[in-house]
Amino acid sequence: MAKIVGGILTSHVPAIGGAIARGQQNDPYWKPFFDGFKPVHKWLAAQQPDVAVMFYNDHGLNFFLDKMPTFAVGAADLYRNADEGWGLPVMQAVGGAQALSWHIIEHLVGAEFDITTCQSMLVDHAVMVPIQLCWPGAQPWPVKIVPIVINTVQHPLPSPARCLALGRAVGEALASWQGAERIVVLGTGGLSHQLDGERAGFINADYDRFCLDQIGPNPDAIAKDSALDIVELAGTQGVEVINWIAARGAMGADVRELSRNYHIPISNTAAATMLFETGSSLRAAA
């Protein structure tokens, strides 16, 4: 039986990829953020997950407005990264956990989630930056992925409550998967930031603290707000926290926070990283 070993929530700011490419992890500007991954590295070395189920949003690499899914699930055996137009190095492709993808898809459609299935898909910095952060320098990447993409670009966005329900349905699918994989759940994006408009540069540390405190024990408290509420509270791109909400749903009912890091600013963003142990791994340890 597959096992959900835990979950990682992290920002995916493109500039982090640039800092990695330039080896700036220990520069004063970057060190407070990268240091947040030390407990994650230690935990991953111990847990050795085989598969990462990743909730994120595409930033105009794979999806355009001609076909913009609310929720998309990858079903490929390989996901290529590509040029996004602003100079990040193109990363090595990452393998897909294809059979698990189809298992999740069958469960989601059966549970009345109207997903778009993607048998070929490019993955952008929202996948590649977190992978580089979790497994720095690893080649080939030590995990296969199931990418799950949430629309944060074109309003109307899915409600945070719907994202939480999606995550929980993915968690049910993982719980019923008969493979032997060790699975880690990732949610990428956020926290508060806004790139566009006269309010560009907006950061809301109070709201971010609320999210960091609630996402583990009480994600419904975050998910009760509407997507537009979160745009107002966290900024136009801060709404990417819906990826965290969905990922949290997939972790199952019980989680224990193992580490957290919060740092302002990385680029225009309040950057955060959290690590959770899940109920199933807690039980295994008990």
Binding site: H59, W86, N204, D229, N268
Partner: protein
Amino acid sequence: MSIAKAQTKERGGKRAIPGTPVFDGEAAARGYALNRMCYSFNDAANRAQFLEDEDGYCARFELTPEQREAVRNRDVLAMIAAGGNVYYLAKLAGIFGLNVQDVGAQQTGMSVDAFKQMLLDQAED
């Protein structure tokens, strides 16, 4: 949660959040040509073509006059008013060598240094 939401206004029945573009259907319909052009900039060859012949490239994507003017002036707020979405516009900004701090400074009327300092000043510790 104790955080008071910022004041919002209704505008044509729609919720408005000050200084905060919401890329809804109306904006998307207005901005389609501009966003489609920006989406093409994932491809390095297209970025090179744009730099070689900006007029021709914009004409090929059938930008509206308002969009063409905003691109000519490198005016991000005008691009957004013309329906541009920042996820796509960021690729255009990249061509001009502008990062998100440059773009933020322009939109807020600050110098880039002041914008960066504003970000740093929000640090909590």
